[in-house]
């Protein structure tokens, strides 16, 4: 399977969103089999299709005043925060080549996060009925996707750095009153972002290497 990996580094949400849509078009038209976009975002709150005013603890004006941007986007799920210190991953994958099953793909993304963080000797879990990945009762990874012509976009974020979680207090993440944590918080030590990316890419290749590329079905 030919996988194109694009690391945008620290990126404005809007430019990364546009990049996703460009790559999405390439994958839909079969110019590209699959892509993985990695980035960290400048502080931003995104509202998925299920987001409501009740998911915010502050007014939009107060959030803008703190220097954050807000975007209504086309992914599923509620409200979430992205910022520096968090690894955001957008897998743009044609599910014709894997399995045309939204839940299967969501569980694959959770497995990807659990395996990646397992490489750092951390035991993470799913929670019954809730999408995402947890360490004890605290959420470390959020997931929300969109699918067009059975090609996925948007994706997941993993909190890596311990000092960058304060902005989650502006919202009720995923519309719930939950605590969030980070890989560094859980380990009690610094973690190199490059090591996390390297681990995630290795795990991503493991998960998807058994694809049936070239035998697409409708």
């Amino acid at each position: 399977m030919k996988l194109k990996v694009i690391d945008l580094g620290l990126a404005e949400y809007l430019s990364a969103w546009n990049k996703q849509k460009d790559i999405l078009s390439e994958v839909i038209s079969n110019d590209l089999a699959a892509a993985l976009i990695l980035c960290q975002h400048y502080p931003v709150i995104t509202l998925g299709r299920n987001a409501s005013r009740g998911s915010f603890k502050f007014s939009f004006e107060e959030i803008y005043a703190k220097g954050l941007k807000l975007y209504n986007i086309e992914r599923g799920g509620d409200v979430t925060y992205h910022g520096p210190g968090q690894l955001t991953v957008y897998p743009i994958i044609n599910l014709h080549y894997f399995k045309k099953d939204i839940h299967w793909f969501l569980r694959k993304l959770e497995s990807l996060v659990i395996s990646t963080l397992g490489d750092f000797n951390l035991r993470c879990v799913r929670k019954e009925g809730l999408t995402g990945v947890w360490i004890n009762q605290e959420k470390v990874s959020s997931i929300g996707i969109a699918i067009k012509h059975w090609v996925t976009y948007h994706g997941l974020s993993i909190n890596i750095k311990r000092d960058d979680l304060a902005n989650f207090n502006l919202i009720r993440p995923c519309g719930m009153d939950i605590k969030v944590t980070s890989l560094e918080d859980a380990l009690g030590k610094d973690v190199n972002m490059a090591e996390v990316k390297s681990s995630l890419l290795g795990r991503f290749n493991d998960f998807f290497k058994n694809s049936q590329l070239g035998t697409a079905s409708n």
Partner: protein, 78 residues
């Protein structure tokens, strides 16, 4: 006349919510145009038009919940 049905979206998914219609009754669509956006808990799904033609009937409004297998719209194929 082509009936556009909510397809199987995955194991355990029995319904989805109509979140956005890209077209209105009476409008002309082309095959593979985005026809309707559907939402499950953590995903949105754009259903493309299966054919080119004119939309003769939209069966569900935005915000309605639809069972898998139900007819979402009818298109007079051209």
């Amino acid at each position: 006349m082509i009936k556009v049905v909510l397809p199987e979206l995955g194991e355990g998914i029995t319904k989805a919510t109509v979140s956005y219609w890209f077209f209105k009754d009476g409008e002309r669509v082309k095959e593979k145009d985005d026809l309707v956006e559907l939402t499950t808990d953590k995903a949105t799904f754009n259903l493309p038009s299966p054919c080119s033609g004119v939309i003769s009937e939209i069966m569900y409004s935005e915000g309605d919940t639809v069972d898998v297998g139900q007819i979402l719209a009818v298109i007079n194929e051209e």
